[in-house]
Amino acid sequence: MTAGALQRCIDHLWLIAPQRWTLIGISVVAPVAASTITSFEGGHQIVPVLVLVIALAIGAAFAPESHTALVAEAIVVWQWLASTDDPATPWVVPMALCLFAFHTTIALMAVTPIGARVDRSILIRWLGRSVYVVVATVAMWSIVYVVSDQDLGGNAVVTFAGFVTLSVLVVLVRALRDPTRSTQPPSSAAGDL
């Protein structure tokens, strides 16, 4: 790295708003937590995987518009598949929510400038939406737990049908209650200028 490139990198870091550092912190900690939960559930820690996840999370945090985050998520999911056998373990819920937190913070950082303070109303709105996702995830785990408890032979089709039904219900409820989905003609707002 040349001195000029290093200086540009330092200048870039200097421009980052304090609030964005918080988002960067969440986006790094969340996949690491997901990987750690997976290791805890599987009974052994794979250090190279953890290091890889940390590196990818940092890369995704500083390049949120890239597909680095997708690679990080894929590695964590693969780690879960490879290291756990219990289909009804409750640890899958925090693991899934950690991945969701990672996805959401990266998505928010991708559309906001690095020097900007994200408006409080935006954060509240996104947190409110996240509650619906958390509810859907817990509901999904409940279905999986019940299906596993009844020993229905791991009927994934039934589970998938339940998931689809739940997702559609959540979206419908949210769409009906979201005040931002206005029916006002767009030209009227622009004409106020």
Partner: protein, 436 residues
């Protein structure tokens, strides 16, 4: 107005690909726990598809005020309206010299309300001139940042008028209400205000003869009057180069900053009081001149012209023209004022020659030295040494200018010109030798 489409983001691809792939794994490997991991991504994907924008986007932006004074601020506003699924918007302005933004990062965000987003950012100009407000990159997004719409705005023209320095002048402050301005002419001539008694000269009107005084002195004496001519201040700005550092209205001022602000101050003092003020700048890339006039409209014209002054910079001396050509251009009208105030750093030898030649033509010229003190502060010791040598030479040149009867004063704000204006007014009443 600009219309562009919405396009899916990496977040949308991540959620959709992640959900579909993980669900496929769950079905193929009969792992229902994997469905729990896929659940958040699946919900986000479905939510994103449902709220996908389905109509064109309307965008409009404007600058609150196209003209400001130095140090003043205005607001850039933008409205994004159209698709019902719009969730948030962000804007970033490109940095520009002498332009500050509020917030200082130059980036703002806002959430949507009733189908539209309002963005606002404060813009403060800290130096005079005509500079555009730089382009603003605007981004709008749907819930979960699944789809984004972006554009770059056009530049908005912004004219920053110089903030005139504090100035006041008491010289020649004998107001005569019958004249156009508050200050009487400094020349004797046809008029109403009594100036004194002097011997009769051929050409004097008979009704001006003071018979009482003539009877006592045994020779014809006439009542002399001040000319009925309002004061004409001709401002001449040397914009050949800009020396020193310009840090805007809050910091150090360059030589051109000093010249422009001092000219603005003098114009703001005289023009609203009914005195005729004209302006001409030389050494600029394009000719900048304002013919004589009075009043606030004239002040505004002068300030507008001052805001357009740009040093010629790279333009060679040959292309700028000789001293004779410049003198001819200046002498074409605007400079034939009663009082010519030239604002110059007096570094260019041609400028010094011009001042001396104007003085030798019999014009009342005052030179305001606007070279800043910090000009010798340079990190390079050789540059600093070169400046010190040049300033020594300049000191000798200034002595020559003063020896030619042209006062050179430093700009100090109120009262800077009082003494020299009084001296010129006194000198104007006496006989003069003019080189022809």
């Amino acid at each position: 107005m600009n219309r562009t489409g919405w396009r899916p983001t990496a977040a949308y691809v991540r959620a959709a690909v992640g959900a579909v792939t993980v669900i496929a794994f769950a079905l193929v490997w009969r792992r229902p726990d994997i469905l729990v991991i896929a659940a958040p991504m699946a919900v986000v994907t479905v939510w994103s598809v449902v709220t996908r924008p389905d109509s064109a986007t309307e965008f409009a932006d404007r600058l609150g005020h196209p003209t400001l004074r130095e140090g003043d601020a205005t607001t850039w506003r933008a409205t994004i309206a159209g698709p019902g699924g719009i969730d948030l918007a962000a804007a970033v302005i490109d940095p520009a010299p002498w332009t500050e933004t509020r917030p200082s990062s130059g980036a703002v965000t806002a959430s949507a309300s009733t189908g539209s987003v309002q963005l606002a950012m404060g813009v403060r100009s800290t130096r005079w001139g005509r500079r555009p407000v730089e382009r603003v990159r605007v981004v709008a997004a749907t819930p979960w940042a699944a789809f984004r719409w972006s554009m770059v705005t056009d530049r908005h023209e912004l004219t920053t008028l110089p903030l005139p320095a504090v100035f006041d002048a008491d010289a020649a402050a004998r107001p005569s209400d019958g004249l156009v301005g508050l200050h009487r002419s400094a020349r004797a001539g046809e008029g109403n205000e009594f100036a004194g008694i002097r011997p009769f000269r051929p050409g004097d009107r008979l009704r001006r003869i003071n018979w009482v005084r003539s009877a006592r002195s045994n020779e014809l004496q006439v009542n002399a009057t001040w000319a009925d001519l309002d004061t004409h201040i001709a401002l001449v700005i040397d914009a050949t180069d800009d020396f020193g550092v310009s840090e805007g209205v809050d910091g150090r001022a360059s030589s051109l900053d000093g010249s422009v602000r001092a000219a603005g101050a003098i114009a703001e003092h005289y023009a609203p009081r009914g005195e005729r003020v004209s302006l001409r700048a030389f050494g600029t890339a394009t000719t900048q001149a304002v013919p004589p006039g009075t009043g606030r409209a004239q002040l505004r014209r002068i300030l507008d012209t001052l805001a357009r002054v740009q040093p010629a910079g790279g333009v060679s001396a040959a292309s700028r023209g000789s001293v004779a050509r410049r003198r001819a251009a200046l002498g074409s009208g605007a400079i034939r004022g009663q009082l010519t105030v030239m604002l110059s750093p007096l570094i260019d030898p041609d400028s010094i020659d011009l001042v001396v030649s104007l003085g030798r033509q019999g014009m009342a010229v005052i030179v305001v030295d606007t070279l800043p003190d910090h000009v010798t502060d340079d990190a390079d010791q050789f540059t600093a040494l070169a400046w010190r040598i040049r300033l020594l030479e300049r000191r000798r040149e200034l002595r020559m200018v003063q020896a030619a009867g042209i006062p050179v004063v430093r700009w100090r704000g109120p009262g800077s010109l009082d003494q020299v204006i009084r001296d010129i007014a006194r000198r104007a009443t006496g006989p003069r030798i003019v080189l022809r």
